[in-house]
Every structure is written in C-alpha cells, then in structure tokens.
C-alpha cells in the first residue's frame, strides 16, 4: 500500500506511486494512464494500492449529496434509431457482462433455444431453405465451411437474437455483431465461451427483414463465425 509494503520500491513502482492518486481520480491523460496500467497489471503491490485508492476515490464521488434538478433530465434517444445505430459499434460491451444479471439473459433458456431452432428448421424446410416469415429466422453459424452453431431471430416486442455456439475451440469470449443489408452494423453484446460452447441472447436494434448476417468476433478481433440471414 505504501513504501513499507513494497520494501525497496523499483523505479517503476515509484513512478507509478507518484501518479497513482491522479490515476485513481481519473485525472491522467491517455498516455500516462496506459503507461501506469501496464505496470500495475504486472505489479501486485501497485495493483493493491490502486484498488485501495480507487475505491476511496469512488467513495468521495458517491458521497456527494443527490439533488433534484429543476427539470427532469431528458432521456437520450438516437435521432433515428434505424439510421444511426453506429454508436453501438464503439468499443466492446463488457466481458462476461451477460453473466452479471442482464435482463437479456432470460431470453435464452435451453427450451427457448430448442423451440426457436425447431421452428426455424420447420420454416426452412417448408421454404426450401429460404425463410419467408420476417418475424422469425434462423441460420447456421459457420466459418470456413465448418458449422459452429446456430442463430435464431424472433420478433416479439423486440428482435431477440439467440445464439447457440459449439465447436468454437480456443475462443474465450466473443462479441456479437448484427449487419444490415445496407452495410450498417452494431455490436449487440458479448459473451464468454467455455469449452467451445456458449448460449446467449441479445437484441437486434433492427427488424429481421433488414438483417444480412450475424457475426461473432473474438476479443482479439478475429472472425469466429458468421450466419447469413435469409428472410
């Protein structure tokens, strides 16, 4: 936590210690921030100190009293949700975030996945492989000719995107991107993959009829699987 905990501190530890408070308070610029984090992630003593400093800094912010604004704050809305979903492409959603109580988790139970897949299979068979009902669609997740899982899309109040992934060996987590025929895409979530398998659900911001594909990309940016949507 301090010099005593470190014993003899390395020059790197001393350098980080000199800016650790600013780091905890969110006052460093990007270069300093990244430089400090590189060391902290490799130094247990500095990481321990940072945790202590950061939680105290958060406590300081959270201790500021609440107050009622003169007028309720406006709820942000995309100017045209259909036209500007690009904001959702920025950055990754959280690692393992859907294991942290996300409401969307409930959309994909095993029963739901099986039912959606079965219905989709019936529709595909009836339609010669081309889905005709825009309220529901399903497609295989593939990469280089290998089938890695399945995507099921169902329109309810929102468009649910259910992913069943298997045989994705060596992949630990992926983000899910939906692409429109127009070329617009949106990251709709991320999830962990264990033993090459995962089940997950999210929501598409766009109607099924506008979707071209659903893509899974690893956190390293490599394409894991793609499902072409035919409606």
């Amino acid at each position: 936590m301090n010099a005593d905990m470190h014993g003899t501190r390395s020059p790197e530890c001393q350098a980080v210690a000199s800016i650790s408070a600013e780091l905890a308070l969110g006052l460093l610029d990007a270069t300093e921030h990244e430089s400090a984090l590189r060391h902290i992630h490799a130094c247990d003593a500095c990481a321990q100190e940072m945790r202590a400093l950061e939680h105290t800094a958060v406590a300081l912010l959270e201790a500021v009293p609440a107050a009622t604004p003169p007028a309720p704050l406006r709820v942000p809305r995309a100017p045209q949700e259909q036209a500007h979903p690009g904001r959702m492409r920025r950055g990754f959603p959280r690692r393992g975030s859907l294991r942290r109580g996300s409401l969307r988790r409930g959309l994909l139970t095993p029963a739901f996945a099986v039912t959606a897949a079965a219905l989709a299979a019936i529709i595909i068979l009836a339609g010669g492989g081309q889905l005709s009902a825009p309220s529901r669609a399903s497609a295989q997740l593939t990469l280089a000719g290998r089938t890695l899982g399945q995507v099921s899309l169902t329109t309810g109040q929102r468009v649910a995107v259910a992913i069943s992934l298997r045989n994705a060996k060596g992949v630990r987590s992926v983000r899910c991107i939906v692409w429109q025929h127009s070329g617009r895409g949106a990251v709709i979530g991320s999830f962990a993959v264990s033993g090459g398998r995962a089940s997950w659900s999210g929501q598409s911001p766009w109607p099924i009829s506008t979707l071209r594909s659903v893509e899974l990309v690893s956190t390293a940016g490599h394409k894991v699987a793609v499902a072409r949507i035919h409606t």
């Binding site: 408070a21 945790r51 950061e54 406590a59 979903p85 959702m88 393992g96 996300s102 409401l103």
Partner: protein, 215 residues
C-alpha cells in the same frame, strides 16, 4: 418491459444495445445523483442542469465501453458526471469558479458549492474523516475529486511544488482509506473488490474520448 429492478450494470448493457426503456430507467435512477454532483462542482442550478444532461448523454453514448470488471457502474457514471461538470465549468466561467474555490474551507458554511456539498448530512462520514486529514491533503483531495484539478493545477493553485501536490493527493487518499476502514466502512471490503479495478482511470477525459472514437 422491465419487470424487475435490474442492476446498474445490466441497465448499462441494455442501454448499449439501444434499449430505450432501460435508458429511461437508468436516467431516472441517476438523475438526482448526477445533478447533485454537477451542482457541487458548478454551484449554479442552471449550469448544473446542463452539465447533468450532458453527462447523461455521455453515459448513453459510452455505455458500450463500460467494463464492470474495472469498477462499479455508479463510479463510472459519477466520474463521467464530474468530468462533464468540469468541462462545463472550464467552458464557461473557469476563472470565476477558480476564485470561488480559493475560499474552500471544509468547516465553512460559505457560498462555495463544494463547501455546500460537503456540509450535507449525507457526507457526514466522509467529511468527518476528511476533516481529520492534514489541511494540505484535505484541500488537494477536494480540489481533485470534486473540482477535477490535476496535480499540476493543484500545485499552481496552492503554490506548492508539483511533487508536494502529488504527495498530498496520494497520502490524502491513503489516509482517508485508512480512516474509513472499519466495521462501518462505506468502502467495500477487500474481498469484494474486483481483482483488477481501475475503473476511474478508464473514465478520464482523454481515455474516454479515445474509446468513443473507437480507437
């Protein structure tokens, strides 16, 4: 339809996915805290309202970049709120606010917005511990945490060497942490802290902007 009380983290996830209802719930859940923080920094209800609105917009735009493994959603949101308020202060009347901050005294009931904030009853625990810190550390912490001043800016304001300002900040945070530790500590126990936190660091102006640009 949201039928249960979702966690902040779950709400941010849904906001990132464009869920309008979740966005509304998050705004209503945080608007008083975000506004209160903006008011503490700015001291002017009208400007605080504008800064709080800007903070909400930033949270909405950056929701996809939130990493729960790095810290709490509340800390992330409130840091954005503080930064938005600081930006508003610097954009409009930075010099005027700087003069007001010169009168900062934790024990006063003066008009300084930070003074007003820290005299609130809800701050009693933190404030009492802050009051126990050496004055230099106390001022440095308040100026940095609520005023958003860097160590260099604090050094200039307080007319002390940069190294002294850095030391005051770090020592102040560590001493406050020690003072707050205990059975009734408002801080999470070490066992509940994520292995890697550093969420505030991820919300700095430059860093957040870089994330938003997708770099």
């Amino acid at each position: 339809m949201l039928t249960t009380a979702p966690t902040d983290e779950a709400l941010l996830e849904l906001v990132a996915a464009g869920d309008q209802e979740a966005t509304s719930v998050l705004v209503r859940r945080y608007e008083r805290r975000v506004y209160g923080l903006a008011l503490a920094v700015l001291g002017d209800p009208h400007r605080a309202q504008e800064a709080a609105q800007e903070a909400i917009e930033r949270v909405y735009r950056r929701a996809a970049s939130f990493e729960p493994s790095r810290g709490s959603a509340a800390g992330w949101i409130l840091t954005i709120a503080r930064n938005a308020a600081i930006d508003e202060r610097r954009r409009t009347t930075g010099a005027q606010q700087a003069v007001a901050l010169d009168g900062l005294e934790l024990s006063s009931q003066g008009p300084d917005p930070l003074d007003q904030a820290i005299t609130n009853e809800s701050l009693a625990a933190i404030r009492s511990k802050l009051a126990g810190l050496p004055e230099g550390q106390r001022r440095a912490l308040v100026l940095a945490a609520w005023g958003g001043l860097t160590a260099a800016e604090i050094a200039e304001r307080e007319q002390v060497p940069l190294g002294t300002a850095k030391t005051r900040l770090r020592s102040g945070l560590l001493n406050l942490r020690s003072a707050l530790d205990g059975p009734n500590s408002p801080l999470p126990p070490a066992s509940h802290q994520p292995a890697v936190a550093f969420g505030l660091a991820g919300a700095t102006h430059a860093y957040a902007a870089r994330i938003e640009e997708g770099a």
